[in-house]
């Protein structure tokens, strides 16, 4: 468990939130909810609607598609945004490999959150573009 100040410090170190002022970071921490998943717990469920947007504060999670691990997520990574932006269920499970501490924003709040924080939107776009580029390299 972390204090609000510690959470603000943590977010300030993540690229996604690196452009926000301290009062803006405080507001983000207040808006999002801190959650802790036990080892083995499912955070995101492939094919099921209604999930949220997660930012990993600590721990490690596995991205699993149809039972096969495709990636690992650690501190500073974020997930869940693609299914919310597309209005579709997640295409992967995310499972905590060890205790996983996250900040979570409910799916229905993500659009307004990004509109209110365009610098986070820009950083998210950068990250998605990098992921796309890396996937294209992998294919070619």
């Amino acid at each position: 468990m972390a204090t609000r100040e510690e959470l603000v410090d943590a977010l300030a170190g993540f690229t996604l939130f690196g452009d926000l002022t301290r009062p803006q970071l405080t507001s983000v921490v207040h808006l999002m909810e801190e959650v802790l998943f036990a080892e083995g717990e499912r955070v995101l469920r492939q094919g099921l609607t209604g999930s949220g947007f997660f930012v990993v504060l600590d721990g490690e999670a596995s991205v699993v598609v149809d039972g096969t691990e495709r990636a690992k997520l650690t501190r500073g990574d974020f997930f869940g945004e693609a299914s919310i932006l597309l209005g579709q269920p997640p295409i992967a499970d995310v499972v905590a490999l060890r205790p996983l501490q996250c900040l979570v924003l409910p799916g229905p709040q993500l659009e307004q959150f990004l509109i209110n924080n365009p610098k986070v939107l820009y950083r998210m776009l950068q990250a998605q573009t990098r992921r796309l580029q890396s996937a294209q390299r992998f294919r070619s």
């Binding site: 468990m1 204090t3 609000r4 100040e5 002022t21 301290r22 009062p23 803006q24 405080t26 507001s27 921490v29 207040h30 808006l31 909810e33 801190e34 959650v35 802790l36 998943f37 036990a38 717990e41 499912r42 469920r45 094919g47 099921l48 609607t49 209604g50 999930s51 949220g52 269920p89 205790p99 501490q101 979570v104 924003l105 409910p106 799916g107 229905p108 709040q109």
Partner: protein, 510 residues
């Protein structure tokens, strides 16, 4: 054993329950109904828990409708009565409406306290009152882990410890001068704030409850927290400030003198003339604010009073320091310790569309308690719980009836589910009410799980989950604006979802 005597002297018990609020009373009664011997201890002198003190301004947030479309005392009536505890005893069912005077469908605090006191008496929930939990030890022996619960009356030993002590420890944020504020828990009678400038730190229900109560008294009211106010009528859920506390917000938007700010606390200082000055950082980055006030109240929430359990390995999370739990309300890091009442919020469930379960309120926690008692009976005490078979031709009727009437599914949407298992040799079996997270994640035989859900659009609709050969699929059904789910159309939709599950096991429903 009379409930007014001091039962449960220190000693060894299979289960020890701590707490005598609605969570502790409901769990104790549910344990008794399934036949699990246990002791209940409480530091309070009488039943009621937090409702012996709060809410300050005397009415609850959860309603009870004395006159409902269904008969009082039936299972279906529980949908309309959010405050009575559950029992098979007719004389102790649906007690809350019998204590209401018709002036509001939100019971007053004393009416709720009377309801809980009457339940403890009529359902014969025995509690050792005036017995304070002071510390805990974990001991290992050949049979496994046991807990030694130290109290002011002596030591209790048990293998299963259930905490129902509420989320009741005042929480104040770190800020220079915060000691000049007083917490929600220390608020005085409203008239003592007459003609004062009141600054309220926090914009959740407790902050707005205070502001509502102080509207006729305070000269000026300012509420502040870093993020914008969320309103339940906007989120179309119980997330956000409830409608009955909205008056200060309307006063704010109409310029009546109440101010609602999005700003974080910097510091509080006492000025030479005795006034308090609150320094704030505006969330929009537009700079600093300084507000002078006579009183600063921290309506900044509460934390779980878990005493020494975190040091023993019980991991906690979030602003309320809730224990991390399995879907069955057991500590994920200190097995053998379970949680009832509002502490059960730590078992978050799926939180689909951002909508939490109602485990923080009586109308959610009361069902969790019953499910937990049955789970303990089956898993820890090897006691058989009757799981009746269902004839295939009655399955649709069974599911339609649960969707239309089951209070567990209505109040704990996307959190509790009714599960029917499907087996080619045994047939169909009602596997009872379970946490949805367990039903989806634990695997198991082919099954159909039914629940109600909401997505924040205002609709409340049935959702079925099917599991065939381990693969889980979600089937949301069409919402009905009048919640009419006991209809031919619903039965046809159910038929379409369950038919493949039955077919996979070679079961015919005709």
């Amino acid at each position: 054993m009379g409930v007014s005597s001091r039962p449960f002297p220190p000693g060894a018990y299979p289960v020890v329950v701590i707490g005598s609020g609605p969570g502790g009373l409901q769990l104790s009664h549910a344990l008794r109904e399934v036949g699990i011997d246990h002791a209940v201890i409480s530091q309070d002198p009488a039943p009621g828990g937090m409702f012996r003190r709060w809410p300050h301004f005397q009415r609850l947030l959860s309603w009870t409708k004395p006159h409902a479309p269904v008969e009082r005392g039936t299972r279906a009536y529980e949908r309309y009565d959010w405050n009575s505890l559950l029992t098979a005893k007719a004389a102790a069912r649906a007690l809350q409406p019998t204590f209401m005077d018709g002036s509001s469908y939100f019971p007053s605090r004393p009416e709720m306290e009377a309801n809980l006191g009457a339940f403890a008496e009529r359902a014969e929930v025995a509690v050792r009152y005036g017995c304070t939990w002071t510390g805990t030890r974990v001991e290992e022996d050949a049979r496994g882990t046991s807990f030694v619960v130290e109290t002011t009356d002596g030591a209790y030993r048990c293998r299963i410890l259930v905490l129902a002590v509420g989320v009741a420890e005042p929480h104040v944020p770190d800020a220079p001068g915060i000691e000049l504020a007083h917490h929600y828990g220390e608020v005085r009678p409203a008239e003592s704030y007459a003609d004062k400038r009141v600054f309220i730190l926090g914009k959740q229900n407790s902050g707005f409850e205070l502001a509502s109560g102080l509207l006729p008294w305070a000269r000026q009211i300012v509420l502040s927290s870093p993020s914008p106010t969320s309103l339940s009528v906007d989120t179309r859920s119980l997330v956000g400030v409830r409608a009955r506390y909205l008056q200060p917000f309307e006063d704010h938007v109409l310029g009546g003198g109440v101010s609602v700010l999005d700003a974080s606390i910097g510091s509080i200082e006492r000025l030479p003339d005795g006034d308090l000055r609150v320094h704030l950082h505006r969330s929009d980055g537009a700079g600093e604010l300084a507000i002078d006030a006579d009183e600063v109240i921290a309506a900044t929430g509460f934390t779980a009073p878990l005493l020494d359990l975190p040091e023993l390995g019980c991991q906690v999370f979030g602003a309320s320091r809730l224990p991390v739990q399995t879907p069955w309300w057991e500590s994920a890091t200190l097995p053998g310790v379970f949680f009832a009442g509002t502490l059960g919020q730590g078992a978050r469930g799926l939180r689909k569309h951002g909508i939490p379960a109602n485990s923080g309120a009586v109308h959610g926690a009361r069902y969790n308690a019953r499910v937990l008692a049955q789970r303990l009976a089956e898993e820890r005490f090897g006691m058989g719980i009757h799981r009746p078979g269902i004839e295939p031709e009655t399955l649709i009727e069974f599911l339609a009836s649960e969707i239309a009437k089951a209070p567990e599914l209505f109040h704990q949407r996307a959190y509790l589910t009714r599960v029917v298992t499907v087996d080619s040799t045994v047939g169909l079996k009602d596997d009872g009410v379970q946490p949805l997270a367990h039903a989806l994640d634990a695997g198991g035989p082919d099954a159909i799980a039914v629940t109600l859900e909401a997505d924040g659009s205002g609709a409340i609709y049935p959702v079925l989950y099917t599991r065939i050969a381990g693969a889980v699929n979600e089937h949301p059904l069409e919402p009905d604006p009048l919640l009419r789910y006991d209809t031919p159309e619903m039965r046809a939709a159910l038929q379409g979802v369950v038919a493949p599950v039955l077919r996979a096991s070679g079961i015919s429903a005709t």
